[in-house]
Structures are given as structure tokens and as C-alpha cells.
Amino acid sequence: MVRKSAERIYLFLIFLFLYLPIVVLIVLSFNNSKSKVHWGGFTLNWYKRLFSSSSIMEAFYTTIFITLASALIATLLGTLAALGIDAMKKRGQAVMLGATNIPLLNADIVTGISMMLLFVRFTRLGMNTVLIAHITFNIPYVILNVLPKLKQSSRTTYEAALDLGATPLYAFSKIIWPQILPGVLSGFLMSMTMSLDDFSVTYFTKGTGINTLSTMIYTEMRKGIRPEMYALSTILFLIALILLLFLNYGKTAHKEPHH
């Protein structure tokens, strides 16, 4: 008994420390007072103000565009890359996987600064450079999601399709594609999450003209803390949460064998 309740308390504490800050943020976003400690009653005022602010809405649309476009293009390029890597010999595969993993582990701020240095040499910072940067850091996530699916769908199923008279293109679309589709989708969703989440890389590659939600929150917070930003952060958290739920649902749905 003692042991069991100790276990429960321990678990409760962990979740408390994990989620309490976010809960506080969400609660404060509905607080009818600018105070960080006093509860002034429930209000949707901060959300109203949020949606009536043109600069915030612009940042919102920019974020949606960057997130979707970078995830789409990264999914396309990443899937093609995974197909290429899968066709390589073992040695080449190891080299390529190492090369794709390094940006994944690299500190975001280093990636951001180095991309900025590269971009300013050739072009002006803006929407394009943010998009290119996001595509770049998203590609490894797609590769890491698609490659295991390719490995699972053994090469012999592709050969079997050819053997039964399929052209290489038909064999790919009927045999390989359906088998890797779950990986492609989770790669796409993960890219969206990463892109939505990103601050450092965006901050260094965006230049002065544009803002995404995360850089917007940062600049606004520097001017002084306004409760609209709590509301904005809450929205951002919810979007990320929804993407995550999709991602997990997709994974478990695929694992269950269908009878």
C-alpha cells in the first residue's frame, strides 16, 4: 500500500512539474486582470484583442504558410532522399544517414546563425530564406520516418510486382507507396510540428520584415509582458498538441493488424 501510494505521488509530482507551467499559462490567458498572481474573473478579452491585431494575424498567416509549405516540400524531398538512400549499398547508407543526422543534433542556434551567414551572402533575408531554412531542417525528420517503412517493405515485394508484369512505376505506386505512406504522413506531421515550434532558426533567417508566431511572441515579450501573448502561446500549444495527437493516432492505427 505504502509503496503504491508513493509511486502515485511520485508520478503526480512529475506530471505537475511538466504541465503546471502550461496550465498556469492557459489559466492566465483567460484572466480578466493584467496581474500574474490575482484572478480577476474569466474573460475572452485577450483572445479578442489577439485576433483584432493585424500584426499578430499577419504573423499567424505567415506561420501557417511556412509550416505547411516547408512540411510539404520537405516531405517530397525527404521521401525521394529516403528512396535513394534505401537503394544504396550499406556503406553509402551509413555515410548518408550520418550526414542527415548531424543537422538533427546540431544546436538550433548554430543552424540558424550559419544559415543566416550563408543566405546574406546571396540574397536578402525574408520569407524565402525562412522557408528554405525550415525545409532544410525538416528533411531529416522525413527521412527518419520514411526509411524504416522502406526497410520493412522488403525489396522482394517490389521484385515480386515486377515479376508479375508490373512496370517499375506501377510497382512503386501499387506496392511501395502504400507501404511507406504511414511513414510519409508521420514525417509530414512531424515536420509541421518542428516548423511550428521553431524559434532560433526562424529568428536568424527572417530578416526584419516578417514574423512567425514564435518570433512575434519573443519581440512582444521584450517590450513588456502583455496577456495577449498568453493567449497566443496557448493557441500555439494547442496546435502542437493536435498535431501530436494525429501523429500518435497514425502510429497506433498502423500497428494494429487488420483482420
Binding site: T157, P168, H259
Partner: protein
Amino acid sequence: MSKRLIDLQHITKSFDGQMVLDDLNLYIRENEFLTLLGPSGCGKTTTLRIIGGFETPDEGTVIFDGKDITKLAPNERQLNTVFQKYALFPHMSIAENIAFGLKIRKKSKAYIEDKIKYALKLVNLDGFEKRSINSLSGGQQQRIAIARAIVNEPKVLLLDEPLGALDLKLRQDMQYELIRLKNELGITFVYVTHDQEEALTMSDTIVVMNQGYIQQVGTPQDIYNEPINAFVADFIGESNIINGTMIEDRLVKILDVKFPCVDEGFGTNTPVDVVIRPEDVVLVSPEQGMLEGDVTSLIFKGVHWEIEVLANGYEWLVQTTQMHPVGSHVGILVDPFNIQIMNKPESNDEKAVESDA
């Protein structure tokens, strides 16, 4: 004799500088059950993949039904393959798997449905149309793989160790099923295996391969009773391979004892390898034997006893239904007809596998 359907001429293939096939020549007749038999790495699977079109030979020609198909893509060849790991399409039902090739050939819906029924009946899986691949056992999956291949009515069915992943009992059942299928379909089977028992049971013709070279081509009886070299003798079943000297025609000296035999044409005083199958060694009382020895080991194998007899410095492997306890003194007798004389190996690939003493 039926006509040659597939003709492999001077096929050479290497991977990363490693020679896998060296000037291989082989023909396969129509309606033949031909087995490529050999240890792993002998080139049997590569040969099959060259016939299937999954590998292109570095040199040489593949003739199929009178036409050169060396460069033809797999999807344009009139043959189908049953793969080692079944290679069924996991996201499709059994019916969809079987219909795959027929849909590509734009067959009518009614035709396809008939064919699926027929093929499932042929492999004893009636009524399995709607089931998913994941719900099948290994043996059932292999039957579906066979059904998927044969509905396309190929002239040749290529089988790449199709029973390798199944357990012993199932493997034996499937051997009989394959023979029955071959007879019912009346098409050519090219079968790859490393299992000599499988090869002996099913084949019309066995091609024994080692290290990229064909060692011997013949009927199962030929291969078993008259192996051409030590490798074949050792690979096809257990045998006593003993150094001998061919004194003259029909007389060979083994372990300092002269044995009459039936082989001729090896010259006089020529060193040879002598093969005597364990079941051909007859144990008699010491005074009746051509040589005498002592039983050193005795193992019960069910249908027979496996006995080792040390005689004149050689451990004879003997299979007999009569029990001789360890330590008993016995005589050894061999019928001249059961002594098989072979030339000494001229190259590595003709030698018996070392670890199999």
C-alpha cells in the same frame, strides 16, 4: 525428349569483383523439374535471378523459347517466381494478391474471379479470398505465393528456396504438393535449394553447383549413385570417401586391400577417390570380411543403426538394420557394384567440404 526451353550460354557474373558464376552453361527442357542444388554462395540463386531478369549477366546469353532475353526486363518475361520469403503484398487481401498479375494483363473481372478460385483450390486454400496476409501461417503464405505466380500461366515457374522457412513436417508435405502441382500444371519448374533431400525427392534433373561451377548434371539416381567427384558425393548424402589406387580396370586398392569393382578407363596405378555409401557397407563376421575392424560408436536412428567401424586406419560409416555393440570385432564386405570410383579433384570446388569429415 522435349525441346530446350531455356538455354544459358557462357554466363559470367561477378559482384564487387567477386566471381559468382564463371562460364556457366545449362539448358532446361520443357516440362522439366530442374533443381539447382548447392551450398550457400555457390551461385544457384544468382543463376535463378538471371533467368528471372533480376540480374544481368556480365557476359553470356539467356535464350528463352528460341529468343534472346538477356537484356529483357523482368516484367516482360513469360515466367514467374516464388520468392524465398514469399514477398506477398501485406496491404492487400489474398484475392488482391493473386489478381495482381491478371489485372496488369487487363483480364476481365469474371476471368480473374474464376482464376482466383481455381488457384486457391489448387493450393488447397479454398475460401481464403477475403483473408488478410497477416492471418496466414508460413506454409499458407507460401501456397498463396505459388497461387499468385501460377494464375499467370507462366511457361516456367522459378522457385527460390520456397520451403526454407518452413518446419520439417510442413516442408515434406509441401514437397509432395509441389510434385502434384507440377504434374497438374504441366509447366517447367526451376527450383533452387541447398537441401539435398528436397532435390532428390522432387527433381527430374539435379544440377549440383559449388563455387560458381556446375559439378554434375543428372537424374537424382545418377547424382546419388554415381557422383562425379568428392564434392558431389559428400554433398548428396553421407558417404565414405577414401583414398584409393586404381590398379587396373575393375580392381581398386583401398586401405591396402584389393577390391573388385565395375569401373574401367582410369588407367593403371592411378590415385583416385573411392565413394562407398554407408548403406552399402555390409557388416559380417570377421573371417568373412574383406577387412576387419572394431565398432567404435553405435547410434540408433529409427529406421537403421548408424555404426562407425575402425578398420585399417579409416573410420567407416555404416548404416545397417542389424545391431553391433561397441567394441565388437566385425568384418567389412562391399559389393563391387556399390564401389564408385572418382578422379581426384582438380580444383577447390570439386573437393569435399572440409568440415564434413
